[in-house]
Subunit: 789 residues, 2 copies
């Protein structure tokens, strides 16, 4: 049942000490935002002591600081492993202040020592050029979540505790953040948590009433609605409310006691009595003023407990009244009682910090790379599709991949460090085989006819791309591994989350004490060219454009043309670290081109001539036909075959690209081909007809520095489509074999006259296609049954 905690578990002395810690953290937070020097106010505060640009966010900070000291009490008294996930990561001054007070900060950054010198560095560096950013970041010890873009804290927290039975993620959710879509649905993560083999999340709704400039929705509905909402989400909320610190300290201590006792009871029931039905997990609702303890008003305007406290409550230090106000505000925390003459936190307060790795800022799960163990990855050879000669056998790429993933899952089940995720698309994307060895995680009602649901399943499916992504990020950041499949078009739903994760990886890489984590691996399927049950809304190959704007070191894009290359690619991705890997591959039966040896060779190089499809060996090609993607590869080869048949003298070189970034120069991307190799492949002057999976301009963007760039003619998705036949999709976008041939004829000067008959034939074929599909609803038999020969 929900309740307002009312017991008084803290002794007067304990309360006083905890309040001092809170004061110290608040003091240092304000000092970071405002001060350039004089951090202990040992000299009278002068304008020159303040920063010229006052940046940062005070409003959320006292709440975070309050929670931090209360969580520390629990850790100390109960010896727990707790991760602090701050949704309002803009409260970094507070998070950093606490990590400093508990000593971790100085261990990671020795120059920011626990004395007056260190304090001076601490305050100056914040939001300062060459210093540290204004949000929780990879440089913030104990953090796995920046919170710069709001909405993901709770799914990160759940991701962190999956398969970490001893870990509890205390997740502070801003009441503004709670309005975001991703956050609003992530409360349902409790239906995917196993109380036995997973840890627990303690969500703390930080109901400070405001966001940047508006009240929050959750602060302005009735208490009944509020509690009803969270009960509806399956939680058992404990409300802590007030603005008198001593009262709220007692209430919070009591709430924490209750919450952790309930977590213990739930876990005990699950672990010793086998009671794994979904319990109502505790959560805390903390309703306290925004900017708590700052000046009530400034220049006659309401600040404390109002949105005006959100960033810097008052600026313009040139105004002596403001400087005075700052001075008074800082002194209100009595720094002289908090820090000794060396500028070190007084020992009785410092004693409130947990020890060693029990400090939330030193929790090893927050530097997951340290805990990461490599996956056991089966060799791909046994899963290979047999390819006697290129293009004869059909295979379903993703289904084959599923068999390998099944065994990856099997090999690592006992380590419990690998999960496969999809937004209700795992089977649609044909990775069903994974369910042979594990189930879908599900801790809600089940019926006997249900299909592979169990509390401890390692396949995660919720119809929320955001939640899948957030879980996976949390899982990876705490040192585990994962693989997510998604319809190609809808992965754009997480564009912004991927941005943030890629940025995190890039920054973490620059932090010496952060260890590499497993890559974020995507399989994008049900792609633009094969949207059989769906239509135009499901056709968008632009996610690869999106990720390529991130740091080159971080991103990879693979377009394996068949099952064996898909297998090799997937293995490469699961072996890699600190990357965002995007694999695009179809799920439909398609011709298979390479036997496993050739596939391994081809994938290792990432790009190459397909000699068996080319006829220019020993000479110069008249035209290069390049392809990237499974469907484009089919069309490119079919075009080549038409050319061979109708224009047998034409010398055609066929190039297939698996690793898209080989197209860039090595200066732009670590996988980029050097110019000499590129020129040798694509020639310096011959026309290149490029059949591409995505939007054509992407290729032009990748190759604009190459010698032969002006002779590239790219066919790809031109944003035309509907529910139609597979081949008609290519025709509507000029990616089909016939349009490719037509372009070859147009671009190879020697063909201008000679190819008139071939051209005529092509036009006839296109008309025939159009009439046939409109009548029969499927592709021409010669297209449907086409095989390379």
């Amino acid at each position: 049942m929900s309740e307002t905690a009312s017991a008084t578990p803290l002794s007067a002395q304990e309360l006083a000490l905890m309040n001092k810690w809170w004061h110290a953290a608040n003091y240092l937070s304000i000092a970071q935002i405002y001060l350039l020097a004089n951090p202990l106010l040992r000299e009278p505060l002068k304008l020159e002591d303040t920063k010229p640009r006052l940046l940062g966010h005070w409003g959320t900070t006292p709440g975070l600081n309050f929670l931090y000291v209360h969580l520390n009490r629990i850790i100390r008294e109960q010896d727990r492993s707790i991760l602090f996930v701050a949704g309002p990561g803009h409260g970094a001054p507070g998070v950093i202040a606490n990590t400093y007070l508990e000593g971790t900060y100085s261990e990671y950054f020795p120059e920011v020592s626990q004395d007056a010198d260190g304090l001076a560095r601490l305050v100056k560096q914040f939001s300062f050029p060459g210093g540290i950013p204004s949000h929780a970041a990879p440089t913030t010890p104990g953090s796995i979540n920046e919170g710069g873009e709001l909405g993901y804290s709770l799914s990160h927290a759940y991701g962190a505790v999956f398969d970490n039975p001893d870990l509890i993620a205390a997740c502070v959710v801003g009441d503004g953040e709670a309005e975001t879509g991703p956050l609003a649905t992530s409360w349902h993560s409790n239906k995917f948590l196993d109380p036995k083999t997973d840890g627990a999340v303690l969500p703390i709704l930080h109901l400070n009433g405001y966001k940047i400039a508006n009240p929050t929705v959750l602060a302005r509905i009735s208490p009944e609605e509020l509690v009803s909402l969270f009960k509806g989400y399956g939680y058992d909320p404990i409300v802590v409310e007030g603005d008198v610190p001593d009262v709220v300290h007692q209430a919070m201590a009591s709430a924490m006691n209750t919450a952790f006792a309930r977590i213990d009871a739930i876990q005990k029931a699950a672990r010793t009595e086998g009671k794994t039905e979904r319990p109502a997990w505790p959560m805390i609702i903390m309703r306290t003023p925004k900017g708590w303890t700052c000046p009530k008003t400034v220049d006659g305007l309401r600040v404390e407990g109002y949105w005006r406290a959100h960033q810097v409550p008052f600026t313009d230090m040139g105004n002596p009244a403001h400087l005075k106000l700052l001075d008074e505000w800082l002194h209100s925390y009595k720094p002289e009682e908090l820090f000794d003459e060396n500028g070190t936190l007084v020992p009785e307060v410092a004693a409130l910090a947990p020890k060693g790795n029990r400090r939330m800022s030193a929790n090893p799960h927050a530097n997951g790379g340290l805990l990461r163990r490599d996956l056991r990855l089966p060799d791909v050879e046994p899963y290979a599709v047999t390819v006697e000669s290129p293009g004869h056998a059909l295979g379903e790429g993703t289904r084959v991949l599923g068999t390998w993933l099944r065994d990856v899952m099997k090999e690592n089940l006992s380590s419990r460090n690998f999960r496969v995720l999809a937004p209700d698309e795992n089977n649609s994307n044909r990775l069903n085989a994974v369910l042979d060895v594990t189930n879908r995680a599900w801790n809600a009602e089940t019926f006997d006819y249900d299909d592979h649901l169990s509390v401890d399943g390692h396949v995660m499916e919720i119809l929320s791309e955001h939640t899948c992504q957030g879980w996976l990020e949390g899982y990876l950041l705490t040192g585990r591994h994962g693989f997510m499949s998604c319809y190609e078009a809808f992965i754009h739903i997480v564009d912004s989350m991927v941005n943030q994760h890629a940025k995190w990886i890039k920054q973490a890489d620059e932090v010496p004490w952060r260890a590499p984590i497993a890559s974020l691996n995507y399989l994008l399927t049900s792609h633009v060219w094969r949207q059989d049950h769906n239509g135009f809304s499901h056709q968008d190959p632009g996610f690869i454009d999106h990720v390529l704007n991130k740091k080159a070191k971080t991103v990879r894009v693979y377009l394996p043309p068949d099952a064996n290359t898909l297998l090799c690619t997937a293995k490469t991705c699961l072996e890699s670290r600190d990357r965002v890997n995007v694999i695009v591959a179809g799920k439909q039966p398609e011709p298979q081109w390479l036997d496993m040896n050739s596939a391994i060779e081809h994938c290792a190089q990432g790009i190459g001539i397909w000699e068996w499809a080319s006829n220019d060996k020993g000479g110069e090609p008249d035209v290069v036909i390049a392809c990237a993607g499974d469907v484009p590869t089919i069309e490119a080869l079919a075009a080549t075959q038409i050319l061979n048949e109708h224009l047998p003298d034409l010398k055609v070189r066929v190039i297939n690209v698996v690793n898209l970034l080989t197209l860039q120069t090595p200066q732009e991307h670590p996988d980029g081909l050097d110019d000499a190799s590129f020129d040798s492949l694509f020639t310096v002057d011959k026309p290149v007809i490029f059949a591409f999976h995505g939007y054509p301009a992407l290729i032009h963007k990748l190759i604009y520095k190459r010698t032969n760039c002006r002779n590239f003619h790219v066919h790809g998705y031109r944003e035309e489509g509907s529910t139609t036949t597979p081949f008609d999709m290519t025709v509507r976008n000029n990616l089909d074999r016939f349009h490719l041939v037509q372009n070859v004829i147009r671009r190879v000067p020697a063909l201008a006259v000679k190819a008139a008959y071939a051209n005529q034939l092509i036009n006839d074929k296109l008309n025939e296609h159009k009439r046939y599909v409109a009548q029969y609803g499927q592709d021409l038999p010669e297209v449907r049954n086409w095989r390379w020969s």
Copy 2:
């Protein structure tokens, strides 16, 4: 209070007729999915009558059909204007069947007539090449929402009813869809609805228990939790549950009666008694089997009421048992009793359809362009910043824009057809002035110290980019106008929604009876170069890359360099139709370049030489310095000034780009400059140093077809940043004046030796900058106070 409706409001005859309509709609839905011909089964069903590719979604369809006939009863009996928003738009066979049964379909598509011939066309065209897509689409009468990408139905529905007091949007939300983040938060839209001046939304949760291959979360929590959740969201749920059609018909009729009566009571209280406090709006929870009325099992496997009913419940018509099953299934609806010998719906059932525009499929709000009235747009001149000479006055672009938007709001307040939206960033983005004439919409608790909140406000702020976007789309699609501001980096949150909207516009444009709607207008500010309070997570200018993948006709990108050009651009956007317009502009005080006349001229052309900044007139330039974006323009001009001072003989041409798409060729984009003009501006062989707001590769992608493309050297965002000074941001990304000058020296052959001293000076300056910002935390005075001269 929630309840399971139990009254029996329908007479036996009425019930029988409604059930027949439902059967007819179900029958036609299945016929669309399965049949190529023989739609009335007047001949024995043969394999050739079925489609070779069976595409579409049955599972959701009977539920949609059920709701449709019940809503029709309400419309008929109560003469209401109702819009049908189908979250599960994949149930298009059902939606189309109903629009056909009520006659609208044949009015729009005369060849699909209400007879046997028309029926044959109806069934064949579905999911068929050259026919119609498998989802609700612009071709679907009565639809404003495709539902292809799930999650947006409810925010669309709210957007549709804002300022439409007589409209009720009946919004069917799939229980899978309800798991998405955007949907999960959009329930809170009720806190932004004015019962007096807005219409109402009747959400109907379609609890059919399953999504593609999994049960849904909401179907597997306890009934108490379920009701608690929706009460917490502020609704008053009415539960309708069952699988016996007659029983559920009565329960649904009763639920509808109750729900609409409550809506009436709420609206009456608001409209006649002035009671506008937020009421608990009714909603319906319909718990019925997925695929209701299809075969219970197929090949021994559970289908009805299970996920297997989601798409096509059984395929492989070559299997005679399956063909027989289909035959039996179709006959179970007794088509011979539903359609007369002409193939026309029998009159007593047809009589259930509402008349004329009361038919949901003919509701004019669903073809909003028809209702659209142009905005009254004030001239921009009176809002101009005075610019005596370029670059002296400072101005805050977005704040100035705010004054104009205030008056746009004022001029159109009485028409109630314009809203300004932002995810809690309206003031942060400095559009505060709008609040002088209206308030923020807010129908939750308020306090006397609240700031511009009122029930009927026309500024919409919720901390959900998704919800803002969804509301705006719904508002535009129903014929109104809007303007949304957003932090540049976080607009990626709605990447995928923008995709879908752009696709809708593109398709609607191809539907002759759809009238143009107002454009989707964005102001992106708090952009990558000026993230003062924030850091790396807030730095991403890639949204413009994203939108440029959509159809050229639909998208525009503007980078006004100052306040006056921003004003002109905003007006152009609000005047335009059927577009997605993206304006990127800073909110900080910046030099102003153009007086209003020059601004109008410059914006009309979209690109042009800034003669006053160039010194090549009458001759040939040695170098072109181009710029796009406010910060790049400052750096480009500062670089030009350094060049003028230190290399006075160098002929520099300065070009500014406001309309980014002028860079493309006219074949690629309607705004593209012709080649001759482009060559004349950028020369055919001189180096072009391009200072660009976004990721540099975007420029290369836009100009790859231009003669001089290889001589473009683009400086832009290289994914480097943190919380630092504005100028340091440019330095970290080589966009600053010094790096621009260095590149000029490098690229102009004649300067190679001559410029050694200038180069040295540049290096000194960069070092000085670095030391200065690290010490003082702000930019060098010469940078901070720099003015063009």
